[in-house]
Amino acid sequence: MLYREVGQFKTSYTSDQAIFPILQDRLGIVAIVIAAYLIGLTGGDFLLNAVLIPFLIFSLAAIGLNLLTGYTGLLSLGTGAFMGVGAYACYKLTTYFPNVNILLWVVVSGFFASIVGALFGLPSLRIKGFYLAVATLAAQFFLEWCFIRIPWLFNYNESGAIEVPQREIFGIIVTGPRASAQTRYLVVLTIVAALTWLASNLVHGRIGRMWMAVRDMDIAAELMGIRLLPTKLLAFAVSSYVCGVAGALLVFLWYGGAESTVFDINQSFQILFMVIIGGLGSIIGSYFGAAVIYMMPIVLRAVPGWFGLPLQPATVEHLTFMVVGALIIVFLIAEPHGLARLWQIAKQKLRVWPFPY
């Protein structure tokens, strides 16, 4: 009833092509953004530190992988490693140039990831599908090996880990253990929102259409005049850029330090599952996927506590595993195209509600 576009006339091409053609959607987005910022000002430490900051960071990484796998149809298992490149690049940059604004380095470190990503994307012209997945797996193993074996990357630390130094912007501590959860959340939120906006514009424009054409049938796309190699490499570069920034955020604004194991193959799989559950080829799906894979276990773990059930934490953990697994199957049976598709169906239904026929 409320969600209806009756009376909203489109009088120009711009308004017809808008990403959110319906007024209610636009208001909803504004409301969500405002709410997100308000939570940052009022939320508790646990909510921000353990739930929302990682959720946003993983959403960003999922968006990055979605650009590659969902929009361009190139399966990648190297996400974790590309995130690692971003994190290590940011670490090297900020130790060499400690006086430069750390946020600049977070954003710039993505470019290093994108160079590496494009390099490992080169075989994508010749190989497809599972074979490409194996090629990106090589990237994962090779880069992980670098993070362990090249001591220059972690400044010859005895522990082999990278530690985040304290950095300030305008006198406010942003990174390091002294930074408040609020500050870090607001910084992460701003960067993630900006990159989401960028990614959304990319996929709705010429580049995104090229990617989707390649995904749907690359020979047809080639015949239409789309050059495959630059398009695929661009997809790898942009995707790795986003993942790299997510990796830098992960270490600098959440963990505060990291071993190479943080960027192992499990991280890659986790992000891939987020993309699959959330919905291939959907920006909002990336958020849904991150919510299900990352936040759902946290909520489930807390459930026995609310009811005062005296369960051992290990039992809770096992239960969580099982419930999450079952829910993933339920979601996928209910809608194989992911949560984003469910969301779309829900919107369709809302538009005609309460008179569906």
């Binding site: 082999g160 530690e163 985040v164 002294r178 979601f331």
Partner: protein, 444 residues
């Protein structure tokens, strides 16, 4: 249509639930001791006995003495699965409940928590793991890693080899191998072994085991057979240890020349090798078996009453179980000491840090606790948060670990300068690392 609505409703419920805060209020008439444990995941095999040992000792104190000086301990486990992400989540969820001390039980999680400890005023006890350099109390006032570091352990290995060969000067020309997990934890002993290799003239051979290849060490042991090292030191964890022992038995490497660090000395590390594993050596700093009054008390007050999670009584007294007990003893003694120092009954992190800093568990005190000669006497000071205490060597006799050596002191003159230097480097690299402002208490 119906399943779709169900799925939608579930999704909505999950999203709505996610915004609820997930913490509970804790009564403040008890001391809150969170234990980060892992009973799930690939490292559960090593994690379960440790978790049981820690939990059972603290539960025994509650049952037998009504806590510490009349204050009950509120022991709560948080499952980390040896996963850094979950460890950080655990930390965030317990942080607000005034924990007395945090035991991360993972080097990865410890590294994440070290910088936060000073800010949140919560001491961290990483018993013989974590960052070796954090033994320097002047730079890391909130971190404690007694009774000794990996560097001390490696130096004991060298000292043991020398004693077998007939003196430090006999090390010249010998080949010592290090079989290590190719991760920060496994690489920890390399710098000190390299220093000693230069000084004593032995050759150091490195055999890194990638984390993914833990259970597939065949080719590595071919190299071992080619190189013929005289002794091998294992710095492994989880599935890597039993695989290494099995492979060593298979290629016929002499078992009494194979020695594991204390984390490679679990009962389940040696047992799978069968009779071939007999003779495998490991460093150790806690007694094994149930012949200690304290273990008997645990059996009487906790295990027999069904308040423990051990799956059979025979697992009480295993090496890693007793190590968990020793870990819990350190926690309890630090709390007791903190109560004495502050005069408060219910102590929180800031007090327990002082309790650790002036911790002095003498042999007499160990006896009082029902653990005579169970562990080294632990003495910490403000400058030295580790103690660099002695360890002994145990031998796997096919069914259990048997102590075969006296307490062996680490080569401190090799280790201490390295610790001071790396601690200083750590503080320099982390701009804004706080200078120590915490006052120092007199040792009790």
């Amino acid at each position: 249509m119906r399943p779709r609505f169900f799925a939608l409703a579930t999704a909505a419920a999950v999203l709505a639930g996610a915004s609820l805060p997930a913490s509970r209020a804790v009564a403040q008439d008890s001391i809150y001791v969170p234990l980060f444990t892992y009973r799930t995941g690939p490292y559960a095999g090593s994690g379960i006995p440790v978790a049981n040992g820690m939990h059972d000792y603290l539960a025994m104190l509650n049952e037998r003495d009504g806590g510490i000086n009349g204050v009950k301990l509120n022991v709560e486990e948080c499952e980390t699965g040896y996963d850094t992400k979950k460890g950080v989540e655990c930390y965030e969820s317990v942080k607000g409940k005034h924990p007395a001390v945090i035991n991360p039980y993972s080097t990865g999680i410890t590294l994440e928590l070290i910088p936060r400890a000073a800010v949140d005023k919560i001491p961290i006890l990483s018993m013989a793991y974590g960052l070796s350099a954090s033994a320097d109390g002047n730079i890391f006032p909130w971190i404690f890693n007694p009774p000794l570091t990996y560097w001390d352990g490696a130096s004991v290995f060298v000292r043991y080899v020398a004693s077998k060969e007939g003196g430090m000067d006999k090390l010249k020309g010998k080949k010592l191998g290090l079989l290590h997990l190719d991760a920060p934890y496994g690489k920890e002993p390399i710098p000190v072994l390299q220093d000693m290799a230069k000084k004593y003239g032995f050759q150091l051979l490195l055999y890194p085991v990638p984390g993914k290849e833990m259970q597939n060490q065949g080719s590595l042991w071919l190299n071992v057979r080619r190189d013929r090292p005289d002794y091998i030191y294992i710095q492994g964890w989880g599935a890597m240890n039993p695989t290494a022992v099995k492979e060593a038995a298979k290629v016929g490497f002499p078992m009494d020349h194979l020695m594991g660090v204390w984390w490679s000395g679990g009962d389940d590390d040696a047992r799978p090798a069968g009779p071939g594993g007999t003779g495998y050596l490991s460093l150790d700093f806690n007694g094994v078996g149930t012949d200690y009054p304290v273990i008997q008390d645990i059996l009487k007050y906790v295990v027999d009453k069904g308040k423990s999670q051990v799956d059979s009584k025979s697992r009480v007294g295993e090496n890693l179980y007793n190590r968990g007990v020793f870990n819990a003893m350190l926690i309890a003694e630090a709390i007791r000491n903190a109560q004495q120092l502050t005069g408060k009954k219910v102590v929180v992190g800031e007090d327990v840090r002082r309790g650790f800093e002036s911790l002095n568990i003498t042999e007499a005190r160990l006896k009082e606790m029902g653990a005579p000669n169970f562990a080294p006497p632990v003495h910490l000071t403000c400058a030295d948060h580790n103690g660099h205490h002695a360890v002994f060597v145990v031998r796997w006799d096919g069914t259990k670990w048997v102590k075969i050596s006296d307490w062996i002191e680490p080569i401190k003159e090799e280790v201490l300068p390295l610790i001071e230097q790396t601690a200083k480097e750590y503080a320099e690299k982390n701009t804004g690392w706080p200078k120590r402002t915490e006052p120092c208490d007199k040792s009790s």
